[in-house]
């Protein structure tokens, strides 16, 4: 049997580099909010898309890299084709570089979140098809009952494809000739898009928990599947809480409101399991992969409360269009998604070995963990306060007066962002160095 190097490590490395770059552009953007002529070479309309695209790339690269790594190593399934993995990597990587260059050159598609020229959607979709084909070909060989995380990965991959097509549907006049339809469909697609990467990321969290807790029953249980179906229902029907103010049919809003409130069940479950979570935490807290999962649980709790509140139309009318939305977006992508993905990075690093075997500079990682979480708390609160300040401004106040009023909070936001940047560097630099040693030792069979 021949053996080869594991390509998934390159995805992980690329993901970490994307995050470092993304954080730098995010910080530039934040300081531009408070200092008008800060770094004119990279104006805000370039810094913001660079930030958002790079951090979204981090989420996808680590989630995908994890799946490529875990499936053959722990589920006993050889990939249908290792060559397709390499092709996927290089198309994704090449497109990423081109997108960065086009932003730097001021060439935009100008859509919120996917601000790149729409032509780049084609290679992204193509490489995703390769990933999907390879994944399904491989996974359908598994005859025993699938644990819930395989369902989550399988449906996350399919939904990304559908919603990415939907997000680009504005190129047709049927959609963009009617602003109500255009905005509604755009946020339908984005809601489901975030839902689809959440399926990939939460699936990864359940997988790691199964490995750490050595309990395979959990991922086959009724509770796990009911929570998964609840997530899927929210992905399909819950998105319209982004568009309460858009004059589409009112039943769209009622459906979204009702469905969003079903997430109260998740909140209830967290509170119900509280004691159990604490005792598990005491047992495993020394393990870095566990520690990041534990942090993500706390951020789930906080962000879920915020999300539930924001989904109530009577509150949304105030919070919509303010920095409360940014607090929600970054609170979840950093606090929940990135914590889980860091857990995955350290789980891959650890493998079946003792944690210290490959991990270098572990002291730095531990300090980084605390700095990251404490800074994130300040970051999140500053954005919430800025949002409340904006929501509470009287309508007679003009935009400049309102911005002046919330400037102290935006300053807090920018400086705590530096805390996040440093905290993450303390974590990522050791991880990148350690990954090298791990990569040299790892071979997968063809």
């Amino acid at each position: 049997m021949s053996r080869t190097k594991d390509t998934s490590f390159i995805f992980i490395l690329a993901g970490m580099i994307a995050l470092v770059l993304g954080l730098i552009f995010g910080s530039i953007g934040a300081f531009q909010m408070i200092i008008p002529n800060f770094l004119p070479e990279i104006p805000f309309f370039k810094a913001r898309p660079l930030h958002v695209s790079l951090v979204v790339a981090w989420i996808f690269l680590i989630a995908i890299g994890g799946i490529y790594h875990y499936v053959p190593k722990y589920l006993g399934l050889k990939w249908h084709s290792n060559k397709l993995i390499k092709i996927h990597l290089w198309i994704f990587f090449g497109t990423g570089i081109l997108i960065i260059l086009s932003y730097l050159n001021g060439k935009f598609g100008g859509r919120e979140y996917w601000e790149f020229p729409p032509i780049f959607a084609i290679p992204i979709l193509f490489s995703w098809l390769l990933f999907a084909y390879n994944f399904y070909k491989t996974i359908f060989r598994k005859k025993q009952s699938w644990p819930v995380y395989i369902w989550m990965w399988a449906s996350g991959i399919a939904f990304f494809f559908i919603t990415f097509l939907e997000a680009n549907s504005w190129i047709f006049d049927y959609i963009s000739g009617n602003i109500v339809r255009e905005i509604t469909i755009q946020w339908k697609a984005y809601g489901a898009l975030v839902g689809s990467w959440n399926l990939l990321v939460y699936g990864t969290a359940i997988f790691i928990m199964e490995r750490i807790g050595k309990n395979t029953k959990l991922a086959l249980s009724k509770t796990a599947f009911l929570l998964y179906f609840l997530g899927l229902t929210n992905l399909i029907f819950g998105w319209a809480h982004h568009t309460y103010v858009v004059p589409s049919a009112s039943w769209i809003r009622y459906v979204a409101y009702g469905v969003s409130m079903s997430e109260l069940l998740i909140l209830g479950k967290i509170i119900w399991d509280w004691k159990k979570s604490i005792s598990t935490a005491q047992k495993h807290f020394h393990l870095l992969p566990y520690r990041f999962l534990f942090a993500s649980d706390i951020w789930v709790f906080l962000n879920l409360i915020l999300a539930l509140l924001m989904s109530i139309p009577g509150i949304n009318i105030l919070s919509h269009g303010t920095h409360i939305t940014v607090a929600h977006a970054m609170g979840s992508t950093i606090g929940i998604n990135s914590m889980i993905l860091l857990s995955s990075v350290f789980y891959i690093l650890k493998g079946d070995h003792n944690q210290s075997r490959y991990l270098r500079f572990s002291k730095s990682v531990h300090s980084g963990f605390w700095l990251l979480n404490i800074s994130l708390a300040f970051f999140w609160l500053s954005l919430l306060m800025a949002g409340v300040g904006k929501a509470m401004s009287s309508s007679s106040m003009n935009f400049q007066e309102m911005m002046l009023k919330i400037e102290p909070y935006l300053t807090g936001f920018a400086y705590s962002g530096i805390g996040i940047l440093i905290g993450l560097l303390l974590i990522l630099i050791p991880a990148i160095i350690s990954l090298r040693y791990r990569y040299q030792d790892e071979r997968i069979s063809l």
Binding site: E115, G177, R181, I183, K222, L232, V245, A249, I312, H323
Partner: protein
């Protein structure tokens, strides 16, 4: 821990997938019909939309509250009695300390204004004069 029944799993899953497609179809058609709107999307407004995207205005501005937060929401910038066409043009022609001057041509400028005018005719945002019901929903004048 009880494992979930295989048949139930498949049933729930495929019903959800089916409802996704049905719901999408309804949203794409009757859910987003807005007859008042379709005629106003002139070719000039369409050019304005392309220009709006070309200069990535959405990175700093919001439409219906959605977008970046460096600058103000532009949904009603033309239809608002305190702002209006000339006010918007002034910003676009000179830029400000925070907003770049894009040096756009007259055609592009006119087109962007036409596009913003078209958006502003759909709805009032931020919503004024609304009441909240006890179960959390909103009632506005336009619902009546």
């Amino acid at each position: 821990m009880e494992p979930m029944n295989k048949v139930h799993k498949r049933w729930i899953f495929w019903s959800l997938i089916l409802s996704f497609f049905i719901y999408s179809f309804v949203v794409y058609t009757s859910g987003t019909e807005f007859p008042k709107n379709s005629k106003q999307f002139t070719s000039e407004a369409k050019l304005g939309k392309d220009t709006f995207q070309k200069y990535n205005c959405i990175s700093c501005h919001q439409i219906f509250g959605l977008g970046g937060y460096m600058g103000p929401d532009l949904t009603n910038v033309i239809s608002d009695e305190h702002r209006g066409e000339n006010y918007a043009k002034a910003f676009l022609l000179t830029g400000t300390e925070r907003m770049p001057n894009f040096q756009m041509s007259d055609t592009e400028l006119g087109a962007i204004i036409a596009y913003l005018k078209y958006i502003g005719n759909t709805v009032e945002y931020p919503v004024k004069n609304s009441t909240t019901t006890w179960y959390g929903t909103i009632e506005t004048k336009s619902d009546e």
